[in-house]
Symmetry: none
Subunit: 230 residues, 4 copies
DNA sequence: TATGAATGAGATTTCATTCAT
DNA sequence: GATGAATGAAATCTCATTCAT
């Protein structure tokens, strides 16, 4: 949707992951760094496999092939490893290789590219998104993080909508922020259904990716009354 | 959106709550019925207050003013009480006092009434919806129930969309089912954000209910290219 | 020393064991009462045998022949059982079958009887006193209890000293409270050395009980300049 | 009380701190000596601040600004550092800059000077005395050390009492050793109450130091029936 | 049916001590 | 000697579920 680098949207580079930054000092030695990395990697794997709640700390240390006590050298509890996991993944989750469509200004093309990029990123990180949804239901800290991530997209898209309204391309009757909430939400539910729920239940027709992209794009464009795509 | 009784949508009366029907025989004595009812009522209260995961069985029995052991006379575990709770509430959650707009066939008016009814029902049962979202993340059984509920709306709306397409009122370029998924999803996210998340965090502007209704209705109508609302 | 019932010393019946009264509801059933009693009894035994610090909760439940979890039906932690143990024993520890010497008003005889009673009670409860000394070093709550107990005696004896001063029998040059602190302290150290330390180290001459009584009594009487015992 | 150098009291120079002498070879290098000294100093500080039991080895090494592992180069465990700490302090604790009252032989004046010196030393080392009391409840090794220290004073004072009895100044009816135990104990309890407990609880009237000295001295003198101080 | 105490598996967490660098 | 991460044996505490009364 938008064509600016995400950091510049609000005119400032927001501190990312504010709610999750209770992290302690990074290890000083190489060995320490290795162990910590092994723990984070193991945590991600186990979380994605078993879910946050069913994961016991020892599952993580077992997977990381270290002693139970070693966990506490780097993290105070399950929440903290999860924060580390998300911190490592957030770059890819938040900035989905932006939608700069070469050589065009066509709003529809830009919108489609934006949606495609979002959905690709969602798909790529589907397991982590599933995890985030689960954790957000359980730990307020991560509920805040989920909101943060959602808001990043919503604001970006709101800015895009406002631009198009200014250019006379989008319906001026709707509040850009509210419309963005609704339409961004629409895309994210579709993504959740397709890539999270769609995977869990083997049955059912998996939606075709391109059909997904084109459907949400068309609905979005129509909703804002882009001209000429009748 | 639709104008038919919900049960007839698919041409058959689907067994509601299929995933939740592991319930045992109802109590035979009056006393038993009273105890069971007290437990279900207490469970709903405690679940809504503390969340599913943080609720201990003894919290429920304490609230119901009966002994811990009595619980097992009626339910095998926490899941079963929750099923009972949802079963009692599902009527209101599924059939939001339908949108039969007296004396009009105006698709826009019907759509708006439908959305208003949906959002009102969501708001009315917001705590239960929050609970359902939480539980769906944790117990596959209830994930299925959540899907069931969502699908009921989606199918209903898909039928509505197909009707409008047949009448030439809605854009025929989109698949009615896919469009319904997207647009129904859009409305439900908005509801979740407004009535579940909006309540949890005291800060922030609570969205005005009528603005919510009109925004989602306008976007929906536009997305399907209803004529004449330019 | 004094001849009044201890409760009346301060003109009011002080709430005994104030610092230790975090006890929860007593069990309702007979079975519960039995289990609780078994736990308290077992706790006393194990505490006296192994010391407070080296006692694990499971040692207590093992001794009481019940499951580890049952402990928490009655007590929140080790401190609480200890409080219960001390509560049960406090009567005997605080009111050592008072020194009412029949048919005499002889201050020396009264003093001696008082000291004998004190030392007998100390000896009788020597293991518990040892425990209390240990715990007082570790848990502030019990430090307060120890002080409470000590103060009960000190105030009682201060009252006795003041009486004797009024009757012209005791040296008026000393502050009764300060003198009582010193002399009561003297007796309690002797008791601690004899009955706590004396037992722990098998070697060494165990002091003769009557010699102990007569020595502290003589020193006490002299210190206050009782007349006529030259 | 006594007028002889402490080492000569028993006619022999007793090996001081016998129970604590499991110490290993002193470090050979300067660097080693420095590290060891830092550890002992840190240990004293942390022990006095947090108590023996609540002190973790890493608290000490952190305070000493060295690595956890370095601790084991010099000490086998917590007990050993404590022994080192006490060893360094024992000189001042045992030989309180003796009471040689210039130009007088007045037993009362000597006694008072002796008590003042003892109480001053106690006050000076109050935190260490508190520590010693705590540790004595927990580690038999240090219980023995505490006894050793107490006995040093008791024997010294017993010798003094015997001298005075020989000179006809003190009551011959009491056993000098037993009397010394009682009276020395009296002084030490007062010191403990004033300087250890008195500090812990901010409330309450702190006893005036000189009043303390004069009270215990008067009671002590009276107890032994020093003549002429009526 | 109702009661409420008893059970015990299982998860988290601490920290003295070891050991590779 | 010094470092600081790794180890793993405890110990506490929770709570769903059972069961005797």
């Amino acid at each position: 949707m938008d064509t600016t680098a995400p950091e510049e949207i609000d005119g400032e580079k927001a501190p990312p992951m504010a709610p999750l930054s209770h992290l302690r000092e990074p290890p000083t030695t190489k060995r320490g760094a290795r162990t910590r990395a092994a723990l984070v990697k193991a945590a991600r794997k186990v979380f994605e496999r078993d879910g946050y709640l069913d994961t016991r700390l020892t599952d993580i240390t077992k997977e990381a092939q270290c002693a139970a006590g070693s966990f506490y050298t780097y993290f105070a509890n399950k929440e903290e490893v999860l924060a580390a996991v998300l911190l490592e993944a957030q770059e890819d989750m938040l900035h989905p290789g932006m939608a700069r469509v070469a050589g065009t200004d066509d709003p529809y093309a830009v919108l489609e590219a934006s949606n495609r990029a979002y959905l690709q990123a969602y798909k790529r990180n589907a397991k982590l998104m599933a995890l985030l949804e689960q954790v957000a239901q359980v730990e307020p800290e991560f509920r805040a993080f989920r909101s943060l991530r959602a808001d990043a997209f919503i604001r970006r898209n709101a800015r895009g909508i406002a631009d198009l309204q200014a250019r006379g391309v989008a319906d001026r009757a709707v509040d850009p922020m509210l419309a963005s909430r609704a339409l961004s939400g629409m895309v994210s539910v579709m993504a959740y259904n397709a890539f999270v729920l769609g995977e869990q239940q083997e049955e059912g027709t998996p939606v075709d990716f391109e059909e997904l992209v084109s459907t949400v794009t068309r609905l979005w464009a129509n909703a804002l009354r882009f001209p000429g795509h009748g």
